[in-house]
Symmetry: C2
Amino acid sequence: MTILGIDPGTTRIGFGIVHKEGSAFRASASGLFEYPQDSHRFEKEFTSLIATHKPEAAAIEKIFFAKNQKTALEVTEMRGVIKFLIQKQNIPILEFTPLEVKQYITGYGRADKKQLETMTLKVLALAKKPKYDDESDALAIALCGALAYPMHKKTKVTIP
Amino acid sequence: MTILGIDPGTTRIGFGIVHKEGSAFRASASGLFEYPQDSHRFEKEFTSLIATHKPEAAAIEKIFFAKNQKTALEVTEMRGVIKFLIQKQNIPILEFTPLEVKQYITGYGRADKKQLETMTLKVLALAKKPKYDDESDALAIALCGALAYPMHKKTKVTIP
């Protein structure tokens, strides 16, 4: 089973591809969309990513509003665009709150960013962290999707 | 000059087409997109609306967060989709706060909904209000765009 994870942002968007094979998980790709504001380019690149990896589902973080309202508005608009592009490909969308992502991966909803990253790398058996934080975040969301899919059911995590 | 006005929503989206001819304004169409959640259908209908009316610019209301956070999130996501579809057609986007819409049309930022509607119908020389509020709202936003375009410069309103 292949899950696409997306970390939405306004200036760049992280993605990660996670596979579930039996009870093991592995990452096969991660990267950035660097021009999400260019509609034509972003749609083309996004569609091409889906065509390459053919994910069964896409996982995306649900955002709640906090500090910077302007940024939150822009990120939410971008989430709308991403969800629209996923829907166009008839791929189911899984949405998780930051708390849920932490809960699924570390078993602890109040884990910090570092703990989440460490656990994500361990479960995915990645020797080193990806270049950009947006990629690590997207892999964590993809892993959460892989753990939760198909029904937000919890799956036992095996650390290699 | 032709302006498309959009009133974003989650279950339906109002649109209105307003023309500026000299110092006069008139509406030529208004209606609803009733299935904005169906990506394929919405994109097809939206693209067809643009192809029919060929607007020079599109005006959309900027939303600020208040009462219902869940609705606000969904409407903001939909705004992202609408802006994405407009950008794909290479049409400039004008964004106005509710206060600006009222200010441009009635000259008074704290005008109520009824005053805004009455003034919009007068300026557009419409004998009766459209069937749905979403259409009236979209026509008000289109009129605001027509008044403000190209540079949010105020234009004298002539009431027929």
